[in-house]
């Protein structure tokens, strides 16, 4: 029995009657537990028992339907997210970036700009920091190690690891288990969900078994104490102060501006490497332009009247292609979860995505407009600077709502269909503004001032709305 006066005796995590339901299915059915600091807990159970759901709840990724989780004395898990490291079954890493690049990015989400730290954690898990191969080309074992390195980056007090030994060879798994033991000896509290209990015998302090969403038994490690099984709930309750202080001494400086810039930079770098969005958008908008030409056989004069509509409809359809891809990288390997558990502001993620999409669509417009001018024999009669203003305001109108609704459609079935279904009706006033303003500039008949004002007002209203509601959408789980 540990000394009640030592920090280790105080529960670092308290779970109070937590229920988590997904529709009619109850993944957790009234779980209550207290976990002391500086110990390693092995969470065992069959598939579907609720282990991952419990871990996600502790990581703050999934709010309980009922009950409360308190970590370090706080029930606002976002407040203490800097003290938690999480490793999931998917890697939470970008396949297109190298290990070092991944860690550099995630370090900056925690306000850590020291590259040496990234190299240290990579070495600590037995990998080479100078490896330039993208993570997507790693073996499963290497990916697991790199995922663990990401979880250790912010020197968390609490580590939540979901099946870290899965698909890892025996030797590497033993090394990982020993590493976790050393981390526990340094004072970290570690939760390991695993099917390989034997690996943690003599390393873990306690084994906790979950069945059908409930903790059914808890036993100390056989090698550490007498091998006695006792049913859950018979351990003595240990009093704890309202808050346990740990000497992490970390001040996490994560500004909105800086996070927006680093996330935007990461997205631009990845797009530059793959050029997925730009290529597909270009080809798609070219197809639209060609198909439209079969519907119309306009004279040059008629072209000026309909070109505004054609060009913006083509850009809108092409933009949907890019917008659908906006979050694709974040949900592959569940990288979005890594962002959500970091202290980085959510609005920074939204702004970075919207700005990235703005840049991609603007590049598309720059490349496609000359083709359009040639195909439809266009010549602007009105001032060109007004065309530029319309292009900027109109493009922002599409991407700000498009980025937002792309994040909403992540939570739905038929994701690719939901985005245009949600975006197009809302975008109609802006589309009308873009089309009319462009037509008026091309024909020089009327002043586009009203439409430019409408677009500006639309952009302001919906940018503010997106910034207000994005966090609610992101944290809706």
């Amino acid at each position: 029995m540990s000394d009640p006066s030592s920090p280790q005796a105080f529960p670092i995590i308290t779970i109070s009657n937590v229920v988590k339901q997904f529709g009619r299915f109850a993944a957790l059915r009234g779980v209550s537990a207290k976990f002391a600091a500086g110990r390693m807990y092995a969470i065992l159970g069959d598939n579907g028992a609720g282990k991952t759901t419990l871990l996600r709840g502790l990581a703050g990724l999934s709010k309980p339907t009922r009950g409360e989780i308190s970590i370090l004395g706080s029930s606002d898990l976002r407040e203490i997210c800097g003290e938690v490291g999480y490793m999931a079954h998917p890697s939470l890493l970008y396949d297109e970036m190298s290990g070092m690049e991944n860690l550099r990015y995630f370090a900056e989400l925690y306000g850590i700009s020291d590259e040496k730290r990234c190299a240290e954690v990579i070495s600590a898990v037995g990998l080479d920091p100078s490896l330039t191969r993208p993570v997507g080309q790693y073996s499963q074992g290497m990916r697991q190690r790199m995922s663990l390195a990401r979880a250790l980056l912010n020197q968390p007090q609490i580590l939540l690891l979901d099946e870290p030994f899965s698909n890892v060879d025996v030797r590497s798994a033993k090394e990982m288990a020993e590493l976790l033991g050393r981390l526990r000896d340094q004072g970290k509290t570690i939760f390991v969900v695993t099917h390989q209990a034997a690996l943690l015998e003599g390393v873990a302090d306690e084994f906790v078994r979950i069945e059908d969403g409930r903790i059914v038994e808890e036993r100390p490690s056989a090698a550490k104490t007498e091998n006695k099984m006792r049913p859950y709930g018979t351990a003595e309750a240990v009093p704890f102060p309202s808050r346990v202080e740990f000497p992490s001494g970390k001040e996490l400086e994560v500004s909105l501006f800086k996070t927006t810039v680093i996330t935007l930079r990461k997205d631009l770098r990845l797009e530059w490497r793959s050029k997925d969005a730009i290529n597909s958008m270009l080809f798609f908008s070219l197809l639209v332009v060609v198909i439209f030409s079969f519907a119309f056989n306009p004279t040059a004069e008629e072209s000026r009247l309909i070109a505004g509509g054609l060009i913006w409809v083509a850009f809108l359809f092409a933009a949907v292609v890019a917008l659908n891809q906006t979050w694709a990288r974040e949900i592959r390997n569940q990288v979005l979860d890594a962002y959500r558990i970091s202290p980085a502001p959510f609005n920074a993620l939204f702004l970075a995505k919207a700005l990235g999409n703005f840049i991609f669509v603007s590049v598309l417009e720059l490349l496609m407009t000359p083709l359009f001018v040639i195909f439809y024999n266009l010549r602007a009669i009105g001032p060109l600077y007004q065309l530029l203003i319309v292009a900027v305001l109109g493009t922002w109108a599409i991407v700000v709502n498009g980025t937002f609704f792309a994040s909403v459609s992540l939570r739905t079935r038929a994701r690719e269909i939901m985005l245009p279904l949600l975006l197009f009706p809302i975008a109609i006033p802006a589309l009308l503004g873009m089309v009319e303003a462009t037509t008026e500039i091309l024909t020089g008949e009327l002043s586009p001032r009203f439409w430019i004002t409408l677009l500006a007002a639309y952009d302001v209203v919906f940018t503010i709305a997106c910034l207000i509601f994005f966090e609610k959408v992101l944290q809706a789980e």
């Binding site: 739905t412 949600l422 009706p425 809302i426 006033p429 009308l432 503004g433 009203f450 959408v473 809706a476």
Partner: protein, 229 residues
Amino acid sequence: MKTVFPILAILTGVLLGYCAYQALVVAPTDQMQGDIYRIIYYHVPSAWTAFILFAVNLVGSIIYLIWRNPKADMHALVGAEMGVVFLSVNLTTGPIWARPVWGIWWTWDWRLTSTLVVWLIYVSYLILRRFSSAGETPVMAAVVGIFGALCVPFVYFSIWFFRTQHPQPVIGGGGSMDPQMLHVLLLNWLAFLCFGALVYWSRYRYEFLRREVDEAQAMQALAETRGTR
């Protein structure tokens, strides 16, 4: 409420019948359009009722986001669903009116076009509710409901300006209405409001009971242990 509902239903039926009589028989015939104008007594009240229901959706969405009150979410859902039904009536009677008057089924005048766009916005709201995951639906729907409401003034304003720049035949015409016609119009609106309130109550009751059944089934699942290992 169980005993009151049938009485209210009968009273509403009587009111609807009386108002239909007023609309089809009592109200004077329009000089220019003839009897066909009488469609207005169903066309316009349907639109007004729909927009009241969309306002309910907006209020419900805001209340849900602030206080996470499940009843607010139910009101938001019922408001949107019934608003779409009433607006569908408006969008269908519009072309039926236009055909004999203008010789065309549809015209992109600002009222019809704006109404169609608003209808699309709330249909997409309902589709989102259907396609999103159970636990997340209320939050997603509330956010989209608010976005839809924010968009409505932009829709009307932009299409109005678009169409006044490019004049088109306008359904309903402008100018003032004969007082007797206005009286019948308002009566029919009252009748539709009563009808709408009854249907709203039924729909809300259904939603309330459905969630209770879902909750009970979830609690049952919670209490059971699964048989398979």
